[in-house]
């Protein structure tokens, strides 16, 4: 091969390559907006994320693309999703978000699933100015964290708000003379459970309650019957468990078997899952849990129907709606700004009110005070009974046996 053919071939090759990459680049720039997300598909948090997070991401993208995409100044753009599995591992999560930001160069990122992951990833979102609407995140450090990370938003409430929501329910029932002042409380010995129990102890005691049983159990305890037996041996009218998904199921099943005869039965995460209702049927009538929704508004009904239609399963009665609402906020803000300008979108979120399936949401110091804290299974639906600034709470009913 002589030098000239080599040269010409190289030039031709490079030109083709350049043309191709230019073409694909312009094609991308013209048609789509790239949105990334990192959440668990495997590992301990996957079971929850596959209920509350992933289906809503799918639903939202399908809906937006169905109507032609996000309306920007230079035309409508369909969403292209770039999704990674963090395997419920912070190291993996950090790497994946970095990959989204600096390799895939996505335009926006949907916030992670879980308190720890939202906090661990916050520095990266802040560094590259991605607005981060942290939905599935319950912490008492909202003030310090939002001060540190100017593009971080919270929507699900604080640890204290959750405890106080339940306290209000208990105080009301006690004042009406329906329950005594004794509580049997248990918690899973993991960050979430330890924090809630720590806040609950002084809160309940200050409200005139006595904790007659107060124990923790390790993550992954295979047999919870000793705990339920222990609680049954007390004369508490209320049973409160700051629990995680597998043990929420386990504690409830044991309560049915032991016929734990309390008037208030509360389990935390996963009580709002459709699978919880599916597993126990009518037995869990009047069980209380974390979260809740008002399923009667037309927006919520439309959302629930669409969710089932697109993803083939029902959304949960708590974080699903919040997650979807956070995507609506992102959508509105991006369309209002009209271009991929992340700082402008963040500013827009800070200063505007958004119409969502949960009603109007706005942020004060990057925190939304519109969320449900306690819900109750009533007639096969998990309805909100205590909220912060949302209408539609129903009255709490007493648990009356497990039949």
């Amino acid at each position: 091969m002589n030098r000239r053919t080599l040269l010409s071939r190289t030039t031709a090759g490079l030109t083709t390559l350049a043309a191709a990459s230019l073409l694909s680049f312009t094609a991308l720039a013209a048609d789509t907006i790239r949105i990334g997300t990192v959440a668990p598909k495997t590992g301990p948090l996957a079971g929850g994320a596959l209920v509350s997070q992933w289906p809503n991401v799918d639903l939202w993208i399908q809906e937006v693309n169905e109507r032609g995409g996000l309306k920007l100044k230079d035309g409508q753009k369909k969403i292209e999703l770039v999704a990674y599995d963090d395997k419920t591992n912070p190291t993996e999560h950090i790497k994946a978000v970095q990959r989204l930001a600096t390799q895939d160069k996505v335009d926006f990122i949907i916030a992670p699933y879980g308190t720890g992951f939202n906090i661990a990833a916050a520095p990266i979102y802040a560094k590259y100015d991605y607005p981060q609407i942290a939905v599935t995140s319950v912490t008492d450090q909202i003030g310090e964290l939002t001060e540190r990370y100017p593009s971080l938003f919270f929507t699900l409430g604080s640890t204290t708000a959750f405890v106080e929501g339940l306290r209000d329910v208990l105080v009301k029932l006690k004042d009406e003379g329906k329950i005594n002042n004794k509580i049997a409380m248990v918690n899973v010995a993991d960050a979430f459970g330890i924090e809630l129990a720590e806040v609950a102890r002084p809160t309940f005691e200050a409200a005139g309650f006595e904790l007659v049983y107060d124990k923790s159990y390790p993550l992954g305890t295979p047999d919870l019957s000793p705990i339920v037996k222990g609680a049954k041996a007390t004369d508490a009218d209320s049973f409160v468990a700051w629990s995680y998904p597998p043990d929420t199921f386990g504690l409830t099943e044991q309560a049915v078997i032991e016929d734990l005869n309390v008037k208030v039965f509360y389990t935390a995460v996963a009580t709002a899952f459709p699978a919880y209702g599916g597993k126990f049927g009518a037995q869990i009538e009047n069980v209380l849990g974390a979260g809740g929704v008002n399923p009667d508004t037309p927006e919520m009904q439309a959302y629930r129907t669409k969710h089932e239609e697109v993803t083939g399963k029902a959304p949960d009665y708590w974080a699903s709606a919040n997650t979807y609402a956070s995507l609506q906020i992102l959508e509105t803000a991006i369309e209002a700004v009209g271009e991929v300008n992340r700082e402008a979108v963040t500013d827009y979120i800070k200063t505007h009110t958004f119409d969502t399936i949960m009603g109007p949401i706005s942020f004060e110091n990057q925190n939304s005070n519109r969320f449900w804290t306690v819900g109750q299974w009533q007639g096969g639906v998990f309805r909100g009974v205590v909220s912060s600034n949302i209408d539609g709470a129903v009255d709490v009913k007493l648990k009356d046996g497990w039949k």
Partner: protein, 309 residues
């Protein structure tokens, strides 16, 4: 041997210098991979220090790492103590812990030692959660510092380099010689009058010290510490897997085990976002069947071929 030993040291020196420049070249994705790789390099090298010569496979890495991360977090969040103080205290705690474990496991060998360390790590994890739940209490363990990825990277690099140098020195000391004999035949070592117990415990303490330091340094990267997450048995397994892939007979084995491992891992994660775990598993199997002696074996084979050619 001596000359080659010095050559190894110089080579590592050059590598460390080169590695120190990584954060100046990139600060995004590749740096975060580099931090992860450096974390595992430090952990596996520390692991190999003990497990390489003795052939005792330890699954206690997660326990040490957890002690580091947890003490830093609880000190900073619940007692307002400075990061550096906690990062200094944690390894000392672990050295004591390692001495106890070392002394307790003297009679164990083989698989019994492996699972003993696993059980011990799990016990510590449960105990820490329980103590925190009942006595310390917590409103969340936050490790909020101003460290960037680059800072963490440099600190981990310094740890890795230190561990390597210590390993190199031990290799040349009476202790190192003793360890090699123990690894070959513990009975012979005892007959030769080597205090096998003391040698093993000492080395285990060094491993514990550095694994804990890594945990402490990485804590600011996680920002929010959950005891069940930092005392991770998964981490213990990963370290063993990477060390075995690299080969444990050379102190530099872990380095060439970790880097390809992390790169393959990344490639798979990026290429198959929907079935990462499945493909990772298949890839593992491929490695086991096609690289029977780990990456070190491959490297040595290539070198040998190069020489004979």
């Amino acid at each position: 041997m001596t000359a080659k030993g010095w050559k190894d040291l110089v080579l590592i020196g050059v590598l460390v210098l080169a590695a120190a420049f990584v954060p100046l070249v990139t600060d995004g994705y590749w740096l975060s991979i580099a931090v992860t790789a450096m974390m595992y390099i430090a952990l596996t090298t520390a692991w190999t220090l003990f497990s390489g010569p003795t052939h005792y496979i330890s699954l206690a890495t997660g326990a040490f790492f957890g002690v580091g991360g947890y003490l830093v977090a609880t000190g900073m969040s619940d007692h307002d103590l400075p990061f550096w103080l906690m990062a200094a205290i944690a390894p000392v705690v672990s050295v004591v812990l390692a001495a106890l474990i070392g002394a307790a496991t003297l009679r164990l060998s083989g698989i019994y030692f492996v699972i003993f360390t696993l059980g011990l790590a799990e016990m510590i994890r449960g105990l820490v959660s329980w103590v925190q739940n009942n006595f310390l209490g917590s409103r969340g363990l936050y490790v909020l510092t101003d460290f960037t990825e680059a800072h963490i990277y440099w600190m981990l690099l310094a740890i890795a380099a230190t561990v390597y140098v210590i390993g190199w020195l031990i290799d040349r000391s009476r202790l190192g010689f003793a360890m090699k004999i123990i690894g070959n035949d513990e009975g012979v070592a005892k007959h030769l009058g080597i205090d096998t117990a003391r040698a093993k415990v000492l080395l285990f303490m060094v491993t514990g010290f550095f694994s804990t330091l890594v945990g402490a340094i990485v804590a600011p990267r996680y920002s929010y510490i959950e005891p069940n997450q930092v005392f991770s048995p998964e981490l213990s397994f990963m370290v063993v897997i990477m060390a075995l892939l690299g080969g444990t007979q050379k102190l530099w084995g872990p380095i060439i085990g970790v880097i390809p491992f992390i790169l393959i891992w990344e490639t798979i994660t990026a290429s198959f976002p929907n079935a990462t775990t499945l493909y990772l598993g298949l890839c593992f199997l491929a490695i086991v069947y096609f690289l029977p002696n780990g990456v070190v074996g491959l490297v040595q084979k290539i070198i040998a071929k190069g020489r004979s050619a």
